[in-house]
């Protein structure tokens, strides 16, 4: 059924259709609306057979999820930014134990400085924790991916993180098609755990493993994600057949077949990129883009196939490896092993800075002429930076950096972007 609704609410409806049995979460902007929506559904009885647990911290949220999942319940939680870091230990624990928990990350920047707006630093911080990571491009995909996520998680016994851009998607009203309960039931069967706490068949879960077997346990986790590379497209294809729309999968290409310049990105910014690609195409540029959905496992082979014919690749990412450069860029570079082309890292949108068509247009034109630096911070205020560096060079006690920058910038409330 078509609805015009807030992204978080669409996600909540999607989760509810998956018949979750235990939901636990701790509030943090910008995921709060998702869990509030679900909490209300449980209270009214609209979402039946579901325990909603109000936990005292994100660490507790993931821990409650671990217990519930280990006891055989289909379990869901959500967090972002600081919250994800606070539960970091438990995040690794969940994947190490092979528990099929599904978690939404309302992508938000990590502080300090404290920042509530969107970028990918949070999910990136957990990229090697062993969770499958899927990025949604639209609110429709955000809803759809959660349905696929439970299927994926339970088939592999591996937890799945669905990343949804905070504010940009979570707080945006969009048209979505909410499937019916019957449709979802046909796609997602009841949870059959591989391991479960059950008095009639007692098992010990979570033993210490020493050097004699640790490597093998970790290898099997890697192997699981490699199997996901095949399973993710399968489930996406099945979804398409059953629900009638393309959703999920490893990646999607847009006008890349004869492109000289290909832009690679994760999440909602792909929409803006596609608009710019269309604009530039009408003017005769050979440009295309790739939207990666599955970041973990990273689709090395599929990506290589999609971009190897290009002259240059521009990786536009809302994340960065401090002191090194790009994070997504690393994966892209890995996929191009042996292929020679020009690769550019563009770090953009950090802390919620808007990524505009105008900036992208300029950026892609520069790229097409190969007039880009290796690593570019899009729309960096060079004056502001230079001023602060000069200020810090003059004296020792210069006070907090962030506050100094803000003071120089002036009243920000009056700015549009």
């Amino acid at each position: 059924m078509l609805k015009q609704t807030e992204g978080s609410h669409a996600v909540a409806e999607g989760i509810a259709l998956c018949r979750p049995e235990v939901i636990c979460a701790y509030p943090i902007t910008p995921q709060t609306h998702i869990v509030e929506g679900l909490g209300e559904m449980v209270k009214t009885g609209e979402l039946a057979n579901c325990e909603f647990v109000n936990v005292e911290s994100e660490f507790a949220a993931m821990s409650v999820a671990i217990g519930a999942s280990a006891a055989g319940a289909r379990t869901y939680t959500a967090t972002a930014s600081q919250g994800l870091l606070f539960m970091a230990e438990a995040v690794y624990n969940a994947s190490g134990l092979g528990l099929p928990i599904v978690m939404t990350i309302g992508n938000r920047a990590i502080g300090a400085p404290i920042n509530i707006w969107n970028d990918h630093s949070d999910s990136m911080s957990m990229r090697d924790a062993g969770w499958i990571q899927l990025y949604a491009e639209t609110n429709q995909e955000a809803l759809d991916l959660h349905i696929q996520a439970f299927r994926l998680a339970e088939e592999l016994s591996c937890p799945v993180m669905v990343c949804v851009d905070g504010f940009i998607l979570t707080h945006a009203y969009d048209r979505v098609d909410v499937p019916s309960q019957e449709e979802v039931d046909r796609y997602l069967p009841p949870f059959q755990p591989r391991q479960v706490l059950d008095p009639s068949h007692p098992v010990s879960i979570g033993a210490m493993v020493g050097p004699e077997a640790f490597t093998e346990v970790r290898y099997l986790a890697h192997h699981k994600q490699l199997r996901a590379l095949a399973l993710i497209p399968q489930l996406s294809e099945q979804f398409r057949t059953q629900f009638g729309r393309a959703s999920g999968g490893l990646l999607r290409t847009y006008r890349t077949e004869d492109a000289d310049t290909i832009v690679v990105a994760l999440g909602s910014v792909n929409g803006t990129i596609q608009d710019v690609v269309d604009e530039m195409r009408t003017e005769g540029n050979f440009i295309g883009s790739v939207s990666i959905c599955s970041f973990r496992p990273f689709p090395l082979v599929a990506l290589r196939e999609a971009i190897k014919h290009a002259k240059r690749v521009v990786v536009l990412e809302k994340s960065f490896a401090v002191g090194l450069g790009g994070i997504l860029s690393d994966g892209v570079r890995n996929s191009l092993s042996g292929v020679v082309l020009n690769g550019y890292t563009v770090i953009a949108g950090l802390g919620g800075r808007a990524i505009t068509r105008t900036s992208l247009r300029q950026l892609f034109e520069d790229a097409a002429r190969d007039e880009l630096e290796q690593v570019t911070f899009l729309d960096l205020n060079a004056d502001l930076v230079a001023h602060e560096l000069a200020r810090e060079a003059q004296a020792r006690t210069t006070g907090p950096t962030a506050e100094a920058l803000l003071r120089r910038l002036g009243i920000v409330a009056s700015q549009i972007t």
Partner: protein
Amino acid sequence: MFQIRIHGRGGQGVVSGAEMMSVAAFIEGRHAQAFPSFGSERMGAPVMAFCRIDDKEIRLREPVLEPDALIIQDPTLLHQVDLFKGLRSTGYVLINSARGFDELGLNEFALGFRPSHLFTIAATELALKHVGRPVPNVPLLAGFAAITRQVALDSVLAAIREKFPAPIAEKNVAAAKEAFALATRPEISHA
């Protein structure tokens, strides 16, 4: 694509106004996108919301930088924030005020635009009259519908009824109807 930018302060229903606008467009079978831009989360802080309406899927995710219509819910923002940035010369401006553009000190500004696209409407007063709360978003939405014809009044009323519970919805409907009528009167308060 038609792009709207709404300016106001926290607590004035800027965001829900944009949301209702998108629902009204959806009811007419069109694609619509509405999203907020917050500063810090507190009452009284300047807030913006954006809405895009189109007949095909909207992929764009940047803020509305070149609005086709501006709705200004709080005139105290007028000389503080660069509200009109990016406004197209054919754009519409709807300001929540009982005063005209002249009295608001916007005469010079108005020169660059089509007079028939500039309006003020006493939305807060209308809201107080019908709903009893100084939240001007609904009358402004109806005014927007009247002036730009991007959405029909009926769609706006349906969006209102979807958002609010019954008794409050009807009060808002009354406010919307009066605002719409006011905005379609020939001798309207525009520049």
